[in-house]
Each structure stands twice: as C-alpha cells, then as structure tokens.
Symmetry: C2
C-alpha cells in the first residue's frame, strides 16, 4: 500500500475512485486500498448515509476510523447564488485541514470517490488544496457513463466517432450546438433539467435516438429509450446517451 510513498513522515491521501456503484466494478487496487484502510473519508449530504460510503458497505476494517464530510449546501441551491461558492469553498478548506492533520501524523487516508476522481468529481476540490503540501495519489475508476452505455447493450463509439460529454446544467442553446456537432453524446446531471435536455435533443434532431439510463450498475437500474419515458421523474444521477454510428467493417 505504501510502496510508492515518498520517504517522508507524511501519510498519503489516496483519492480512490470506486467506479459507477457496483462494488464488483471497482479496481483491484481500489479494493485493496480500502479494505486495508485505517482511515477513510467520504462526502455525503447531511442526514444521509452517503453514496460512496454505501458502495463499500461491509468491506471496511472493523477498526476503521471514518471522516464524513457533510456538504453545507446541496443541488437545491442555485449555482448563481453568491453564497454558493463561498460556502463550498469554506467547507473544502475545513475538510482539507483535517486530512492534512492526519497525513501530518503519518496516517494514510483513503478518500472514497464515486466514479473517477478527476472526471467531474468532488475530490478534485480537495486535491487542488492538498497538492504540493501532502503526498496525494489518485486511483482512476470506471465512470458512470461507461456503466450506462454498457447497460444499453450497445457500443457508444465506433471508428472516428466524436463523443461529447455535456452537463444538463448548461444553457439550452449550448446543449443544442454541441449535440448537433457530435456523433455520440453523454449528458449527465439530468434531474430537474430533463425537459431542457429533451427540448435540446429535439432541436438537434437526436431525440428519437436517445436513451435514458438511471442508476447505472446499481440496484434499481433502468434502461429505456428517452422518448418512451415521457413524464418520468428522473434522478439527478441519470444519464442520457446517444450512440455513435461510425465506420464498422
């Protein structure tokens, strides 16, 4: 576990991607790190068990010390609210201080991350504050979008297809422009943005080709054509996909 550690008295902060949700899809390295960890940390909403923590249920050491990092704000607060960034920034700084303390005491810490830590993850906000001060190592992981396209039983990209990954939180005009330009699409952070996504896909001429995947690789996974899910309330972690159709021998 510490083979790659610098020769210092510092512990290492491991940002460990757990993958899309099915514990069987985490990497061998992630599995080894978290089952051996004395300290684990993870984000969660106040009052919730935490999605990352849920993935590793039953896999941690009996004497593990847990550090739950509870978000002070949620997706219900508009991103445009001036208090949003300030509150989050203070929160990340406090989390970072605790992790830095642990590392300073020589303790390794495994930070449990949903998906891949460097792909739209929250860990990067800790990482940017820790790098250069504390040894940090990141373990990549299977993304939620990989689990989603696998669940559709169809390849997402072929040949020279262009794949674009879009956040449904973008303005509709931006969504349309990118949807028109790409061959294959992944749209994430759906939730309450679903009507905007539908409208943008229609304007880009790709609505009938779109799929909706909820809870990819997790309990409750659903896979259906988006057009067949009219009126459905979609969770935030849904993913909308349009498959490419490039060159194929």
């Amino acid at each position: 576990m510490s083979d790659a550690a610098p020769q210092t008295t510092h512990g290492i902060i491991h940002g460990v991607g757990l993958g899309p949700g099915d514990a069987d899809l985490m990497s061998v390295r992630a599995h080894r790190l978290l089952t051996n960890a004395r300290h684990v940390a993870y984000f969660r909403k106040e009052g919730r068990a935490g999605r990352a923590r849920g993935i590793v249920q039953g896999m941690l050491r009996s004497d593990v010390i847990e550090f739950a990092m509870e978000y002070p704000v949620t997706t219900e607060i508009p991103l445009s609210d001036p208090g949003y960034n300030a509150a989050l920034s203070g929160f990340y700084t406090r989390c970072t201080a605790h992790l830095r303390d642990l590392a300073g005491q020589g303790e390794d810490v495994v930070v449990l991350c949903e998906g891949d830590p460097f792909f739209y993850g929250s860990f990067m906000h800790l990482y940017e504050r820790l790098r250069g001060e504390v040894p940090v190592q990141v373990v990549p992981a299977i993304t939620g979008m990989s689990a989603a396209w696998t669940a559709t039983n169809r390849p997402i990209t072929w040949g020279d297809d262009v794949l674009s990954v879009l956040m449904a939180t973008l303005p509709e005009e931006d969504l349309v422009r990118h949807m028109e330009a790409a061959d294959a699409l992944v749209v994430m952070k759906i939730g309450r943005n679903i009507d905007k996504v539908r409208s943008a896909l229609r304007r880009a001429g790709k609505y009938d080709a779109a799929w909706l995947v909820e809870y990819a690789s997790m309990e409750g996974q659903t896979v259906q054509k988006l057009a067949g899910a009219e009126g459905r309330v979609t969770p935030y972690f849904s993913i909308v996909l349009v498959h490419g159709s490039g060159r194929r021998p």
Copy 2:
C-alpha cells in the same frame, strides 16, 4: 460467474474490459472472470504477443485454452482502401464462428479487451455479430483516457465543462472545429497523425495547454506538455489532453 446466464445449454461470451494496461486497474469482476476462465480469446497483430494478452500474463489458469485472433490488416493499410473493410469483416466473421461454436458446446469464453469494450473497442465488431444468437455479457473498464488524465495529476473536467473525445484520424478541419467548441479535450489514435493534431491545436488556440501522455498506466509511461515534445515520435496509443477549467469553489 454464470449467475446471470440464461437457462440454456449455451456458454456465455464475456467481453471483459481489462482497463488501461496496469493489471492492478482491472475491475474485481474482470479479475475473477479471467483467472477462472477455461477459454480466453484476444486480438493481436500477427507475430506479436498481443497487448491484451500481455496485461494478464501470469494470471490465467494453467490449463487455459487460448484463441488468438490475428488481424489480417494493420493500421499501416489506409482506411480508404476498399479491401480494408472486406478483409476485416471476413476476419471478424471467422472469429465469431469459432466463439459461437465454443458457446454452442456449453463453454464460457472470456474475450480479453484493452480499455472499455464499448468505447472505440474491437470487441464491438464481434458483439454485433454474436448478439441475439449467443449470450454475451460485457464488463466495462477504466478507459485509457482516464489513466492518461490521472497521470497528468490534474482533473480533466470541472463544473459544467464540455469534454470532447476526438480521433486524430479525423480531417484537420473537423479537429479544429471540435477543439474550438469544447472546454476539455481527449485526442486518441495519435501516432503518425501527431503533426496534424499539433496544427489543429494551434489553430484552435489550445496548443500551449495540451499534454502528451504515452503508455498511460503502463511501463514506459511518459507525461509532458505537448509543446515540449517537438519532433518526438509518438506511439499510436498516445493520448493528447487539454484540461477544462470550469467553475471551481
């Protein structure tokens, strides 16, 4: 291993993503499937050991039966050559016939796939020919691009960043247009297309922000700014990255 198998006498063809190259980064499920497999199959170039096969060296059963699927053409033959598609199509059909025979005899087969099988993978050409005839199950994996951005020690996407994945085999005009439109970029299949990629990045105003990663997560991994690698001969499996810089509290 066969928990999810239909109740038939057929074996299952497993398309198993091995991830970016480091065996430690394959999923727990992939590891279990391949270490227990009686039959494994994999693509390779004639006269080569095979990259997928190399990843699992020393991990297979001693009585494993291997089926090496040797490409009749290589990347050296132009995609525009009319014989290219015909030769590849016949090859995939022959491979499929053998896999179908094994499955018909009740044998499970693990097809070893570099990267994620449904993300620009070769397995999809077998998959499209087997689906509906034989039970096929696909295991997603960590992509080479995830290993590449992890190797740069910088997150690839933040907030609402748009990520586009481009093949360097595309015409330069197409590359420029997509490079201008996206916040974060992944360019794959570099090799002899490196000069075109450099030119397109310059025209899109993103050359100085670009990174070159060779052999991500593998022996011989290199990470450097693209501008610092002028004149370097880059392997086909190199990846060029431009990181996004979206909202960050």
